[in-house]
Amino acid sequence: MEDSVDVLMRIENMTVAYGPIVAVENLSFDVPQGGMVLVLGPNGAGKTTLVSALSGLISSRAGRVLLGRRDVTRIPAFRRVGQGVALVPEGRGTLPGLSVRENLYLGWRAAGARQTRTFGETVAEAVDLFPRLGERMNQDCQTLSGGEMQMLAIARALASRPQVLLLDEPSLGLAPQAVARVYEALGQLNARGMAMVVVEQKAVPLTIVPSLTVVLQRGRVVYARGGHRPNDGELAELYLGGGTPS
């Protein structure tokens, strides 16, 4: 792989295993500056394992993760967020008992020395992207709808001033309208230059064409193509057959 200033995050020959079970095997791809990598795959394909390893929640058995030119492979998750890698975990991971504002505050604080905005500015940015959050700012986040919780999870991750945003199945459990709203916001963010890795199980209503689409099957890449994303039919063929779609 050639070194390029356009590459924000580089994953090199990553293998992640749980004991004898290899969940992700020898995976390599680049996340370009301001680009979006869409990772698709059925249940058990290794998608969550991949974003967990990219965020530092779990250690990889082999390979490297580079953020810019810096090797962050051994940096734990709680420090990696301060380096600019923010995760929106599966199931949202909003924190019940805490208000929307408190959730945003935790994200804002996680940036540490990299934080360039005041908390007030961060809240204003969140409301600008997701106006619904403005109406819910002092509410306990467990009173939010699923879509609003997802918006909060994304806004909280953005509050940490990430260089790259990792999203684990942001459409999971959401109504189609909420999925569309979430992906519209992700499209806006990407258009403003936010790099992201989005993991999904099924085709999603992207408003932009991803820089790279990767399809995983049992921890291995069965499809990788830039500037295109497989449609539902192609995905079905990949999921069921494991081969390259025609």
């Binding site: 734990p76 709680f78 420090r79 995760l87 991971g93 805490l98 604080r109 909280r156």
Partner: protein, 338 residues
């Protein structure tokens, strides 16, 4: 905020002070003794509440740390003739250090594994206390010199009462300050989901160790105060029954509720004293009171309503025509209420 609202926000501390004052001025040695024991246990429950209520880590080792508090105070005052206040400081610091050392490996465990490991730690301390000669063995250590300031001994009822409630107030204030601090928010985050907490920069293990150590230190304060008040320490104070009772106090009082710790301790410790003359039905009455308290807790009211409505509704007759339909409707209604 209006004066009325401000008063309402402070109702729990105000009520606590009023009840404590009523007990103190009643002059009843029964109530003063029991209130002192309740306040002493409540300090340990506030500690447990930091670990379980805020940080979401279930530990059965709290009696072990109460034992560290009690035994360090006893051994260093009786065997080494230390000043009791100095021994108290050592007990609290020692419990924090022991908790941090054991917490480093133990708190990497999750769920039932953590529970079992901490239970083993608590029982290990109990076994040590029972078997070790320098700890007095099964007989324990008696005639422990009390904490004192000049001629005022804190093993006497009123000074002990004031010391116990004073330290309970301090532990409650500590809990409230921590709860709303960045550390407290981090604890609450990792109590919900460790991965989500890590993704917002919370170093889970470090935060868990801090909660474990702080909880242990409050446990040690409680253990030492108890030993100071009764001038006795023995392994029977830290048995598995006491561990269960601590959790009973915690759940009756409510998670994240420091003042509830006082209520939980009062229910578990004082009610058996009040009904001790009722011979055979003592256990039954205590269990009914416990059940009522648990059902009436705000977070359990739905459960309470369901039990009451299921008592009011006649059971479907098995085998009668249309019973399946009725049962289906009933289930639907139940879901609707939930």
């Amino acid at each position: 905020m209006t004066a009325g609202k401000r008063l309402l926000a402070w109702w729990k501390p105000i009520l606590t002070v009023l009840v404590a004052a009523a007990v103190l001025f009643s002059g009843s040695s029964f109530w003063i003794y029991n209130a002192t024991i309740v306040a002493i246990y409540a300090i340990a429950i506030v500690g447990l509440n930091i670990l379980v209520g805020l940080a979401g880590q279930v530990s059965f080792a709290q009696t072990g740390f109460m034992a560290v508090g009690g035994y360090v105070l006893a051994i260093f005052t009786v065997s080494f003739h230390w000043d009791p206040w100095l021994a108290l400081l050592l007990a609290v610091a020692g419990a924090g250090i022991v908790a941090a050392l054991f917490g480093w490996p133990l708190l990497r465990l999750r769920g039932h594994y953590l529970t079992m490991a901490t239970f083993a730690l608590g029982m290990g301390v109990y076994a040590l206390a029972t078997g070790a000669n320098f700890m007095g063995g099964a007989v324990g250590i008696s005639a422990i010199p009390p904490l004192a300031i000049g001629p005022v001994s804190f093993a006497s009822p009123v000074p002990a009462f004031l010391l116990a409630f004073g330290l309970f107030a301090l532990s409650t204030a500590l809990f409230s300050v921590l709860r709303n601090s960045p550390v407290g928010r981090g604890w609450r985050a990792l109590s919900v989901r460790e991965d989500a907490a890590a993704s917002i920069g919370v170093p889970s293990l470090r935060y868990k160790i801090a909660a474990f150590a702080l909880s242990a230190m409050l446990g040690a304060v409680s253990g030492a105060l108890y030993v100071n008040f009764t001038t006795y320490v023995g392994p029977d104070l830290y048995s598995s029954t006491i561990i269960v009772n601590l959790f009973l106090m915690l759940f009756i009082g409510g998670l994240e509720s420091p003042y509830g710790s006082l209520v939980g301790a009062a229910v578990v410790l004082v009610i058996p004293e009040l009904i001790s003359g009722l011979a055979n039905i003592e256990g039954l009455i205590f269990d009914m009171v416990l059940l009522a308290v648990i059902i009436l807790r705000p977070e359990n009211r739905t459960l309470g309503r369901r039990i009451v409505s299921s008592i009011r509704q006649p059971s479907p007759v098995i085998g009668s025509g249309g019973s399946a339909e009725a049962a289906g409707e009933s289930a639907g209604n139940e879901r609707g209420r939930g």
